[in-house]
């Protein structure tokens, strides 16, 4: 028994030393967490493979910034805690950069403008954000839409109905469970395109503050953050970003602000 353990321990130590020089020479591998229900940003194929805009972006950033990515599907609930616990090194999951979240994690430079849109049934009389005051409004929990609606209706308002993901929220809207919903234009349009049988009306309001998605790392993880920002800059400059953007959202490629 004891000899067996000793042999095992020796083997472990040996492999660690053997692996060390190789790991130092090559790029580090970061475990990247992303949700699996945010089409087209990140979603899972039937083969449990993560795909989407965010996934393509982080892979490209890794290639340009000098790190390998190991993608792990991570539920939105508790996703930030995985950084502190060391389960994930990087999170890319359509995360809106907010001041509150800046206290918990460090964000990369913005990589996506999260424009918001109101969705209602075709007959509803909603012209803008102000009309939502007396309605039951669906949002995705702690999304940009949630933040915008919370400002309008009060963050502890029970007229706000928070859902886990966009499909759930839009199903509820389609069934009449909520009067309106607010979400990311990109995600909503993608959903509408793939569900032509469900009639929705989109209402735009320029009162929505423009917010951006950022890539999160554990507070103080400057090594990873620098690699991400370098990579992001490179893929914007060489056109990879624009190509990826057009591939997922057939719209004009936005110019990203520098932090």
């Amino acid at each position: 028994m004891l000899t067996k353990r000793l042999v095992l321990a020796a083997a472990c130590i040996l492999t660690t030393f053997a692996a060390l020089p190789a790991a130092q020479a090559a790029d580090p591998t970061y475990t990247v967490g992303a949700g699996g229900t945010y089409r087209p940003f990140e979603f899972e194929t039937p083969q449990k493979e993560l795909v989407g805009f965010d996934i393509d972006i982080i892979k490209a950033i890794g290639k340009a910034g000098g790190f390998n990515t190991k993608l792990v599907s991570t539920p939105w609930e508790g996703i930030f805690a995985t950084l502190d616990q060391g389960d994930r090194d990087i999170i890319i999951s359509g995360i809106t950069i907010t001041d509150k979240r800046r206290e918990m994690v460090d964000f990369s430079a913005p990589y996506f403008p999260a424009d918001q849109v109101i969705i209602t049934s075709p007959g509803a009389k909603v012209a803008g954000l102000a009309d939502l005051k007396k309605l039951q409004v669906g949002v995705v929990n702690s999304s940009t839409g949630d933040i915008a609606v919370s400002e309008e209706l009060g963050k502890a308002s029970t007229a706000i109905r928070r859902f886990d993901n966009t499909p759930l929220m839009l199903e509820e809207l389609y069934r009449g469970g909520v009067d309106a919903a607010v979400g990311d234009v990109g995600v909503i349009k993608f959903y509408i395109k793939s569900h032509p049988e469900k009639p929705f009306k989109l209402v735009y309001d320029n009162k929505f503050k423009r917010q951006y998605f950022g890539i999160a790392v554990k507070k103080g993880n400057k090594v990873a953050l620098d690699k991400i920002n370098t990579g992001l800059k490179k893929i914007v400059a060489d056109g990879t970003y624009a190509k990826t953007y057009k591939q997922w959202f057939d719209a004009d490629v936005p110019t990203l602000p520098q932090q």
Binding site: Q136, N141, K155, T158, R161, G176
Partner: protein
């Protein structure tokens, strides 16, 4: 973790208060509905006759459907049942575009005001009914056959025997498992946050999502759930001493 940040909880206080009330409301309705349903199902499960038409009627039209029902609701997760009822069954019944029971604008009104609540209460009650029916069955079966036989030979009908002789005795034995079930319902109601019902777990999810902090909101609701279940078990204890008196020898 950086200590316990009270301001996070106080900022969302209305959500926690509303959430507690919603959880309590949900629990009370589900416990009552579940117990009544369980009584009906439990009696139905045991319904049998010796001879003739009723023998077959009770077996195939009462016993079998009840068995099937209990098996389904005990054999699938409550979480799945809640989603199934909210997104599949309820839209069939109440739907602005052609619901079987209610449709049109009134359906929209009902769904947006009470949709999640109705689905949650329905799902949890139906689920609790299945479990409670087994409690009733075990309770009734635990009463000596002689009791029922004696009552019947005194000229009581089947229902009279059940109501006046068997159930009162069985109820005493059923109190502890019924209390357990009620406590389970308190906790099960947290699953309804998935369909957007603003109960306690929903409040914690909202806060943890907004602040990316998990310690404060989840510890807070744990305490509230705990207090609710403590009060509930004290109430069951009280009932047990009250209805248990006849059994005790001084």
């Amino acid at each position: 973790m950086g200590g316990f940040q009270w301001n996070i909880i106080s900022e969302y206080m209305p959500l926690f208060v509303e959430g507690t009330l919603m959880t309590l409301k949900c629990t009370v309705i589900c416990v009552i509905a579940g117990t009544l349903l369980g009584l009906v199902l439990g009696v139905g499960r045991l319904a049998e006759a010796r001879h003739g038409f009723y023998k077959y009627f009770l077996r195939y039209a009462v016993q079998f459907p009840v068995r099937f029902y209990v098996s389904f609701f005990r054999g699938t997760p409550l979480f799945v049942q809640i989603l199934l009822i909210h997104f599949a069954l309820m839209p069939l019944l109440i739907n602005p575009s052609g619901g079987l029971i209610v449709s049109g604008d009134f359906a929209r009104e009902i769904r947006s005001q009470y949709g999640a609540f109705m689905s949650a209460v329905l799902a949890i009650s139906l689920n609790a009914g299945a479990y409670v029916s087994e409690i009733f069955r075990a309770g009734i079966q635990s009463i000596d056959r002689g009791q029922a036989e004696a009552a019947r030979s005194l000229g009581m009908t089947y229902m009279q025997t059940l109501r006046k002789v068997v159930l009162p005795q069985a109820f005493r034995r059923m109190l502890p498992p019924l209390g357990n079930n009620a406590i389970a319902i308190v906790k099960d109601s947290s699953l309804a946050s998935a369909i957007g019902l603003a109960e306690l777990a929903y409040a914690a999810r909202t806060v943890s999502g907004a602040y990316a902090r998990y310690w404060e909101p989840y510890l807070t609701i744990s305490l509230i759930y705990w207090v609710i279940t403590l009060v509930l078990s004290a109430f069951v204890q009280h009932l047990e001493t009250r209805y248990g008196k006849g059994d005790r020898r001084q």
